[in-house]
């Protein structure tokens, strides 16, 4: 694969409030994207009322100091903008001609939400129905239980959406308290991408978000995530397929093995098309499934993610599928891949990176990730070398170090 010729033009400015603005220059495009990502964490969700942070995100667009719920939606629609809130802030995409208005609407959504009682109750009812509906979906049921088993009592084991009981108890005042406490500028980011010159774009962002002030309390420190013991669980549901999750606690994004693990993932179970070992074996050769995957790097963040192998299959194939995963985990831990297998994955990873940079929203997200994890804005230029440096022995060694077949949690839900 040829050297990646991509070079991004990113500018940043830190405001006195501690908010950092990021601007990616994407010349020639007719669209603009902007995302606000504040330093809110899963542990900030009230212990006795999980789901508040999620509800805050769901309700940000239900009204601001200037607009009611429908008025805010109409204001965005009038300028062709797609506006949404989330538990860290919000995002907007729009034609470049409506950048000013769309950014202003995003500012209001993030900084001046009104959480009107009637609309909060409506959203609450919708979230409750969604939670109820998800109890019918074996894949979701298994995924939630898998996470809970892996993290145990640790805060990372909580469902971000909360529970039927906790969501039912949420009041507008809880949302206001959370917003007032945690939607603060320090260590937060506003990232935008569009055709404007970077300094011009930073000026525009500063004008919009310089009013975000105040300090949040210190975040509660999280205890270390421990590897659990091996366990196997099945939740019977009247369905055609069974959905199986298998894995254990994973790594942080800053783990020194991160790039080696990315390569390992693609060999094991995250490769494109059906090139990974798990796809070739469990889908192509054994015909067990339509959907199969395995990997550890994709979920790595500020806190440890999970190593997760997943398959959706018929009930009679459950044990065969689990045995297939175990065989592949054992193989990648005990034998280095061939040079050609490794080279194929390197070619893919170094060549495909550019496709993540086509959309403005992706460019803004890229700048944000690069800044938040200290990767540097030239990461896109250095990334190919980081991947090319991985050897066949590295792959085996990181597999041995980070995959623990004797500590696997297996959770399935669906047909028995």
């Amino acid at each position: 694969m040829s050297k990646n010729p991509i070079r991004l033009d990113v500018a940043e400015r830190e405001l006195k409030s501690g908010l950092t603005l990021l601007a990616v220059h994407n010349p020639g495009v007719q669209t603009f994207a902007c995302a606000v990502s504040l330093d809110t964490r899963i542990a900030d969700d009230p212990v006795k009322l999980p789901g508040v942070a999620n509800m805050v995100g769901e309700c940000l667009d239900e009204g601001t100091s200037r607009y009611d719920s429908l008025g805010l939606a109409a204001a965005a629609e009038e300028v062709g903008a797609a506006l949404e809130g989330n538990h860290r802030g919000g995002a907007v995409m729009c034609p470049v001609s409506s950048q000013k208005k769309a950014t202003e609407l995003l500012r209001q959504l993030v900084m001046e939400p009104s959480f009107p009682g009637r609309e909060v109750r409506r959203v609450q009812s919708e979230v409750l129905t969604e939670l109820q509906s998800e109890l019918d979906e074996p894949r979701t049921v298994a995924a939630r239980r898998f996470r809970a088993e892996i993290y145990g009592e640790h805060v990372l084991g909580r469902a971000m959406q909360g529970t039927l009981e906790s969501v039912a108890a949420i009041k507008p005042k809880h949302l206001r308290e959370y917003h007032e406490t945690w939607f603060r500028p320090r260590d937060g980011y506003v990232a935008a991408s569009g055709p404007f010159e970077p300094e011009d774009m930073l000026d525009r962002l500063e004008r919009a978000f310089r009013g975000l002030r105040g300090a949040a309390p210190e975040h509660a420190p999280l205890p270390k995530v421990q590897l659990g013991d091996a366990s196997d669980h099945h939740i019977a549901m009247p369905r055609e397929q069974v959905h199986v999750f298998l894995g254990h606690a994973g790594v942080r994004r800053e783990d020194p093995d991160f790039y080696r693990l990315s390569v390992m993932d693609h060999i094991l179970g995250s490769g494109p098309g059906f090139t990974s070992r798990c796809s070739r074996k469990l889908r192509d050769e054994m015909g067990l499934c339509y959907s199969v995957s395995a990997g550890i790097a994709a979920s790595a963040g500020a806190e440890p993610g999970t190593f997760t192998a997943y398959i959706g299959t018929s009930a009679e194939h459950r044990e065969k599928a689990v045995a297939g995963f175990l065989a592949e985990i054992d193989r990648i831990r005990s034998q280095p891949p061939s040079e050609s297998e490794l080279q194929d994955v390197k070619d893919y990873l170094t060549g495909s990176f550019v496709f993540a940079l086509e959309r403005n929203s992706n460019l803004a997200a890229y700048a944000l990730r690069a800044r938040r994890f200290g990767l540097g804005y030239d990461f896109v230029e250095r990334y190919p070398d980081l991947i090319r440096a991985v050897s066949v022995d590295d792959v085996r060694q990181v597999a041995e170090r980070h995959l623990h077949p004797d500590r696997l949690t297996i959770v399935s839900a669906g047909a028995s």
Binding site: S98, S291, D347, G351, S352, F355, E358
Partner: protein, 464 residues
Amino acid sequence: MKMDIEMLPDVDVVELKNGFRALLVERRSLPVVASVCWYQVGSRDEKTGQTGVSHFLEHMMFKGTDKFGKGEIDQQTSKMGGSNNAFTDTDSTAYYFSLAADRWETALEIEASRMRSCLLDPDEFQSEKSVVLEELAMGEDEPWRPLYQAVESAMFQTHPYHHPVIGYREELERLTVGQMRSYYERHYGPNRACMTIVGAIDRRRTRRRIKQLFGGMPRVADREVAIREPEPKGERRVTLKTTHSVARACIGFPTCRMGARDDYALDLLAHDLGNSKNSRLYRRLVVEDRLVTEISVMNEVRQDPGGFFIMCELHPGAAPEKVERAIREEVAGMIDEGVAAHDLRRIRTQIEASFLFQDETVLDLAMKLARFEAGTPDGYSTLSQVLSTYASMKRKELCEVAARYLQFDRATIAWALPTDLPASATAGRASARSAAKRGSRRKAAPKGSPKKGKKKSKTGRGKA
């Protein structure tokens, strides 16, 4: 708000004597290229007893050709740092690649090789059949797919849109590799395909390469005209019992062909009826009456007359008959009133913006061109008229179109009800009254795209 939108990029058309057409667009913002090879074959071309063969064949098109052995298409794509995938729907089967600009021509070689020389190895056929049957089982577990299929099957009783794209389990189990080969040889050829290629390409070189690779291929039989679906002679109802705990409804109205003037009107009506917070159905059923948690409306155009669908998910405890009555009232209101001028302006702004977002990636643009080229009588050049057609529509015409298609005496109404809810809950026909009598007019402004040609009844081979 005025947007400066280039709807139709500079397209270079390659037309071969055997009927193959390719559309080339040079775009050099990034060193990437996307290609889409779009075949005029889908589930509507299947014979009774062989349902699902189009989609199953799409899977087999990755399982080896005369020049690319088993697994090589995926492996080569991956080595080139690219991705590929495919999908099948009622009218079409499409294969697509996103690749780095210095090696994208392999995509052309793969498409040329599998157009006439797919191996269809019997062992691979058997193994992939298991994958397809697992895909079918996965779909049966989803809450929406059985309901949507129930509407399609009841709405299209004569036309082959009647059967599911993925096929019937028993017919898939019985399907032989010989039957698939015969289907492949009949339908896969240069005159049944078009390609769109967008990105950092050398147009002259690409043109030359297309002629080399596709020029010698023989034509295959032209597509047969499908039997016409007669106008429904009354309302049709289906009630499914489901093990899911939430009640859902899907209401379908037969409509027109993709690209017809009425199709554009139905897009606008779909936006006004249900695709934003300010749409009629959202305001009435979600915000005011709080009967449903989600509602969406889709104008699903096809090459033969397609459907206009209203879908919703009920709050626990909400009475299905109340929901149905409210929907009837709102649809009646739309027929009475059409769409107000200020609402139309807002909807058009949303549609224009959605076209901008559809051009952000080379694959998006390649897909849009292919969809219009294959799906509309005037091909890709239809794009130059799209916005002006939307702009030319006035309230009176929208009322007429709504009255023509959105009558409940030609609708199919399907409910999926949890097993503990009596089927009689939806047995009585609710009476409609005009929503105009309820006071304030709704403001329409969808946030979604018009999604021309986007299918719900689409299925593919899995992840990219």
